[in-house]
């Protein structure tokens, strides 16, 4: 059993491949998380302009990309765009798909955070001469982010897990590399190793999230 699923020799042989996958997963996360946060912030700021001409297209955009499965979106970009004469690499496709998909999720979180800040805060700032953007930057956003920190972290966890979708379009991230190693060694051990690495990488974040959520609950009481 251990020989099959946790074979030390295979771990040793597959380690360089799996390690390069881990590095790519970290790299991919470091790209798609800020990209998603940026996209989300942009959407939320646009949503704070309550003009119907902005509001309705924005709602349609967010709804569409939340309802659309990210895997389908990714494959569509990767396999569909070449037919339109646009050949992007797997990495670029993952970045774009995540910008669209997780940006919509982050956007809803930021929007809820912005809505949670009382209107009197903005009025106080505007009454001292701050512009709309200054009031947003210095007064609303710091409070908004603090109020939705657990949700932001929770979504970030999901995003890091979703980077494994990159394996479908041949981005050599952790899961893809583990599968490569598996097919080279005819042994499932590399997949087990990848699973353990995912867990060890994300578990501290999950702990942190629990503590934040408990603190938020205590604060509400």
């Amino acid at each position: 059993m251990i020989q099959t699923f946790f074979n030390i020799e295979i771990i040793a042989a597959a380690w360089p491949i799996v390690l390069s996958g881990l590095l790519n997963t970290v790299l991919l996360s470091l790209i798609v998380v800020p990209l998603g946060l940026f996209g989300g912030l942009l959407l939320a700021l646009l949503a704070s302009i309550r003009h119907p001409l902005v509001r309705w297209p924005l709602m349609a955009w967010v709804d569409f990309f939340r309802a659309f499965p990210p895997l389908v979106l990714l494959i569509l970009l990767f396999a569909g765009l070449p037919f339109a004469g646009l050949e992007l690499g797997g990495f670029a496709c993952v970045a774009i798909a995540f910008f669209l998909n997780t940006g919509a999720y982050y956007g809803e979180i930021f929007r809820a955070g912005i809505d949670s800040v009382p209107a009197g805060q903005v009025e106080a700032g505007r009454s001292t001469g701050l512009s709309r953007l200054q009031a947003m930057t210095w007064i609303v956003l710091p409070q908004a982010v603090r109020n939705v920190l657990p949700d932001l972290l929770s979504n970030t966890l999901e995003v890091v897990k979703l980077t494994s979708l990159g394996s479908v379009v041949a981005v050599p991230e952790l899961l893809y590399q583990a599968r490569q190693a598996q097919s080279l060694t005819y042994n499932p051990t590399p997949i087990v190793v990848a699973a353990i690495i995912y867990f060890l990488m994300l578990w501290p974040l999950v702990r942190l999230l629990s503590r934040l959520e408990n603190r938020a609950l205590a604060g509400r009481r």
């Binding site: 805060q121 106080a124 505007r126 001292t128 001469g129 710091p142």
Partner: protein
């Protein structure tokens, strides 16, 4: 006010509609420099809305407003610049909870008035001194009492050296024992010559500090005059009824 004195606030024929609701029905209000005007009236009479129109937190539906010679409703007016001259104090303080008292006071000094951090800190500290809270500069609003919070909010306004200050029920959210300290600060502001428009039910304060009391009802100014005249011998039935009601409590 005498007709020949220079008005620092000159609002004319202000109307405000909220949808089908006609909240202000043509209000004229002139305030002279250094004058303290008290605005009283039943809830829903439009007094807070009038105040909020003066610095354009609410957009009047029609009318004209001049503050310190600036046309507040002209689209070409830099409203953010104009608002520095008009301080506002809110019923619920509206301090920024994520900043210290000093941070609250210095934000606009730095971002609007363009002061350096050191200069803003110096001015902010001086403003906190004026409201008697120099030793609370590093406290966040959560660590301050309601009365202290409202005094920080006043400091936030006066740090910008406004030409006129608007008070929107500044003591209504305070426990009775904390009201005095806020009124004390308002009194010293008045003695320093600040022009003030105050919406409030603090009748004792109105009596001995106000130059003029304005009674509003149903979106209109019903009558106005020196506090003694309004409180002792109101000419309108509605004023009499309102004064009688609040004095019974």
């Amino acid at each position: 006010m005498a007709p020949d004195t220079q008005a620092i606030v000159d609002a004319r024929a202000i109307h405000k509609h909220f949808g089908a609701l006609h909240v202000l029905k043509g209000v004229d209000l002139k305030v002279a420099e250094r004058e303290l005007v008290f605005v009283i009236g039943p809830s829903g009479s439009g007094k807070s809305t009038l105040l909020r129109c003066l610095n354009r937190l609410e957009e009047p539906s029609s009318g004209s407003i001049l503050v310190d010679g600036i046309d507040m409703l002209d689209a070409r007016t830099d409203i953010n610049h104009a608002r520095q001259r008009i301080g506002m104090v809110f019923q619920s303080f509206n301090l920024y909870p994520h900043m210290t008292a000093l941070g609250n006071v210095t934000l606009a000094l730095r971002k609007v008035a363009g002061k350096s951090r050191a200069e803003a800190d110096r001015l902010g500290q001086a403003a906190l001194e004026r409201v008697g809270l120099a030793d609370r500069a590093g406290h966040t609003p959560g660590q301050l009492s309601g009365g202290q919070q409202q005094r920080v909010a006043i400091a936030r306004s006066i740090a910008l050296e406004p030409r006129v200050m608007l008070f929107d029920e500044p003591t209504s959210a305070l426990d009775p024992e904390l009201v005095g300290s806020v009124l004390e600060v308002m009194r010293s502001l008045r003695e320093s010559g600040m022009t003030m428009i105050v919406v409030s039910h603090e009748m004792g304060f109105a009596r001995n500090a106000a130059d003029r009391v304005v009674f509003m009802d149903d979106g209109l100014i019903v009558e106005q005059g020196p506090p003694a005249a309004i409180f002792e011998s109101p000419t309108h039935e509605r004023t009499r009824a309102f004064i009688g009601q609040i004095q019974r409590h």
